[in-house]
């Protein structure tokens, strides 16, 4: 692969890979490391991939595997039996209120979703991969992807509602304090 092709591959994918990595690692430096490690592996093994149209799926798959490898090393992997129970769909905050939230707050909410749900949920929102590719990347059946997606969205709604409420409480508290100080 020439440097031009490599540059194109980086340009087309590094931002999405970084976002996926950031949702997984919850840490900017680790996300950067993970994204770079993914391209590092591409340079050593990705050359064998003849069909470049599959490069994107390959990169996401590799990034997720590297993330899991790191998790196994640190002994923090979430076992399937640790999956939280189903939750009833909570009332979501109004979309206008979510739209008004800072992107970092929404990202932080996404990062608080349980890991097993977070990975398919992030890939769902990134819209880079088709469902069968998400399933391949995560090593689970398509039906499981949809199931985890559904539960992940429920968690995300709950967390966003809490963040939204907290933001409103802070605003009220701030307004009250400001009011008291006014002569």
């Amino acid at each position: 692969m020439g440097s031009d092709t490599f540059t194109q591959l980086v340009d087309a994918n590094y931002a999405s890979l970084y976002r996926f990595a950031l949702s997984l690692t919850r840490n900017q430096a680790d996300a950067c490391d993970l994204a770079q490690q993914t391209f590092f592996i591409w340079a050593t093994k990705g050359q064998a991939l003849r069909d470049l149209s599959k490069a994107k799926a390959w990169l996401f798959t590799t990034l997720y595997r590297e993330f899991l490898r790191g998790r196994r090393r640190s002994g923090r992997a979430t076992a399937l039996e640790d999956l939280p129970p189903d939750e009833a769909e909570p009332p979501a905050p109004e979309v206008d209120r979510i739209a008004a939230l800072d992107a970092q707050i929404v990202l932080a909410a996404l990062q608080d979703v349980d890991e097993v749900f977070r990975a398919p949920l992030t890939l769902f929102y990134l819209e880079d991969l088709a469902y069968h590719e998400i399933a391949e990347a995560l090593g689970i059946p398509v039906g499981t992807v949809m199931s985890r997606l559904s539960r992940g969205k429920t968690q995300l709604r709950t967390i966003l509602a809490q963040r939204d409420q907290a933001a409103r409480d802070n605003l009220i508290s701030f307004s009250a304090q400001k009011g008291r100080r006014t002569p």
């Binding site: 692969m1 020439g2 440097s3 490599f6 540059t7 980086v10 340009d11 590094y14 931002a15 970084y18 976002r19 950031l22 900017q28 430096a29 950067c32 490391d33 994204a35 770079q36 490690q37 391209f39 590092f40 591409w42 340079a43 050593t44 050359q47 979501a92 979309v95 979510i98 739209a99 939230l101 992107a103 970092q104 929404v106 990202l107 996404l110 992030t122 769902f124 929102y125 990134l126 819209e127 991969l129 088709a130 469902y131 069968h132 992807v145 949809m146 199931s147 997606l149 559904s150 969205k153 995300l156 709604r157």
Partner: protein, 246 residues
């Protein structure tokens, strides 16, 4: 299909997604069109998804990340030899070096962590596409070159290297992990070796105990002393060849 089953399917529907036209969604979409309650729920769901996706797209990588990934091209690709004329393995090695340098450079300039250290230089040496005897021959480097080629000298005892002098003598210098690394080629017992040197301080994490690695038919050993950090590479003879002169 009842509405709960339709919701389960519709939660996964992405209007702009690559599988939006998938038959899986067809029945559920029709049901949402026919049932006002389900339709209203679906509209809220779509709006929620679009908002979250838009927020996620706003998150941008650090501006240095891209350059850090690509930075190694300046080291890996010889200007005198276009990359498309390189043998496949060399091109792969060059691409590898791109990322190695990227990782290390990023760590230096973005994350504010300790410098990448000897492991990055060792990784570079393992794939350095220009290490095919393009560095100055030791015989041109005076006393230092003679010391390297003298079979009585153990390399780990601390070669009498003067980096400033190496620079003036046209020794090959590359930037790895943001630090200047010199490469010298020399021969011992008929075998070729490549010594990469850099200042200890920037290498930071380099340990005094030699650490060996083998990859792709190349072997390296990395160590450091008070002043300098070293990586010794050979393409033949493996780790044993390194141990013999270390």
């Amino acid at each position: 299909m009842n509405n709960e089953q339709a919701k389960f399917i519709l939660r996964a529907y992405r209007p702009g997604g690559r599988d939006a036209g998938d038959a899986t969604f067809g029945d559920a979409l029709r049901q949402a069109q026919a049932d006002p309650t389900l339709g209203a729920w679906f509209a809220r769901e779509q709006s929620f998804d679009a908002t979250v996706a838009a927020k996620l797209r706003v998150v941008t990588p650090p501006p240095e990340l891209r350059e850090a990934i690509l930075a190694g091209t300046r080291v890996s690709f010889s200007p005198a030899r276009p990359h498309w004329r390189l043998p496949a393995w060399l091109a792969a090695a060059a691409a590898l070096a791109v990322v190695i340098t990227g990782v290390a450079t990023y760590r230096l300039i973005v994350a504010g962590r300790s410098p990448a250290g000897l492991d990055r230089i060792a990784a570079f040496a393992l794939v350095d596409p220009e290490s095919a005897h393009t560095g100055p021959q030791a015989s041109r480097l005076g006393a230092f070159g003679a010391w390297l080629q003298n079979p009585m000298n153990r390399i780990s005892s601390g070669p009498p290297a003067d980096l400033a002098q190496l620079k003036t003598k046209g020794c090959r210098a590359v930037s790895v992990a943001g630090q200047e690394v010199f490469e010298i080629c020399f021969q011992r017992d008929g075998g070729w070796y490549h010594l990469y040197l850099t200042r200890r301080e920037p290498a930071g994490t380099g340990g005094r105990s030699p650490v060996f690695r083998e990859e792709g038919g190349r072997s390296v050993v990395a160590w450091a002393d008070d002043r300098l950090a070293y990586v010794l590479m050979t393409g033949g003879g493996g780790v044993e060849a390194l141990r013999r002169i270390l």
